[in-house]
Assembly symmetry: C2
Homo-oligomer: 199 residues x 2
């Protein structure tokens, strides 16, 4: 006896999501089956809603409900400072901080030859054109401090070399609340290299 | 700047699923955002479909598209043998095996005082009534071989004690392909206790 087709269909769709395999997809499906119809309906509508309402900002490639996005249109944002991030959600991680007043540029990924993602798959060309147009004083490279993020940062800094713009990289070092004893050597090295004078 | 409401809504709905926290919900949301509308629509419809089409069988409490389910209605199934499982999907795990010809009874969970789930939250009363009605020769307790599953099995075997029905428990032992060297002591003990004569 096979399980009902509707369940198999849902499992198959859930399996297409990242990090969700057969077992997790089955667990989620059966959870939805056991829950109320109202709850499942809410989830289905939230999925449809997000695709209907959310678009990518034509300026920064971040997600938004109107184009250009609220940040790119913001009157109090400093358009001379551009923070380059990998993914749209990185924008909101930085926004949560509440300190950054510049604008963003979302790469839509990171250079990763193993996954077949080269510079042309990202929005690096658009970033270059923005810088070419002028008006930008600083490009802050806030890609992730891992292998792909670091090499993407190096690549972008080389691309922007010919232009009169300051290119900076976010500090890599020991996180607040951590312990030197447990720090890995690469982080410790970066933390030493990036040391600043006590004021 | 806050992220768009539609994204927050989707994250909130995804977070209600088991094993999905804030970070995973955000990751899944942004994955859906980046994917095609068609793909998101398929997932949304699969969720709605599963709630619209799938019901619980009034006989075995398994999931089905018609009541009673195909297994309970099956002409080739042995209705004297009832396999008791925790969750609806356990039925299909056992069905995949292709060997079991009896019917099922889904408990809809397991006795777990820590989660506030007592025997009355499960379908143990319905199982008792089925046995009382007669016609059942064997009840196979196929709850999970963990603390909750074992104690639920013990509880059910006590409930069914007064009735002239054979109550059995699935074998706990070393899985095929495993190595005695790496077996945990409880499994090894169960494997010894459940030893059978070589034929």
């Amino acid at each position: 006896m096979k399980r009902p087709q509707a369940v198999t269909d849902l499992v198959d769709e859930l399996k297409k999501l990242p990090g969700i395999g057969q077992k997790t997809a089955e667990r989620l499906s059966f959870f939805m089956l056991r829950g109320t119809t109202e709850r499942a309906e809410k989830l289905a509508q939230a999925i449809q809603n997000v695709k209907a309402k959310i678009i990518l900002c034509s300026v920064c490639h971040g997600i938004t409900e109107r184009d250009p996005c609220d940040i790119c249109q913001g009157p109090n944002r400093d358009h001379t400072q551009v923070c380059v991030v990998e993914e749209p959600h990185d924008v909101y991680v930085l926004e949560n901080m509440g300190q950054y007043k510049g604008v963003y540029h979302v790469l839509m990924g990171v250079i990763s030859p193993l996954d077949g993602i080269g510079p042309s798959e990202l929005t690096i060309q658009q970033l270059k054109e923005k810088v070419e147009k002028g008006g930008i004083q600083e490009v802050i490279l806030a890609t992730n401090p891992n292998m792909e993020g670091e090499s993407t940062a190096v690549y972008i800094s080389k691309v922007l070399k010919p232009y009169p713009v300051k290119v900076t990289r976010i500090a890599r070092g020991l996180p607040i609340g951590s312990d030197i004893e447990y720090a890995d050597t690469v982080t410790l090295l970066k933390s030493l290299e990036g040391r600043s004078e006590m004021l």
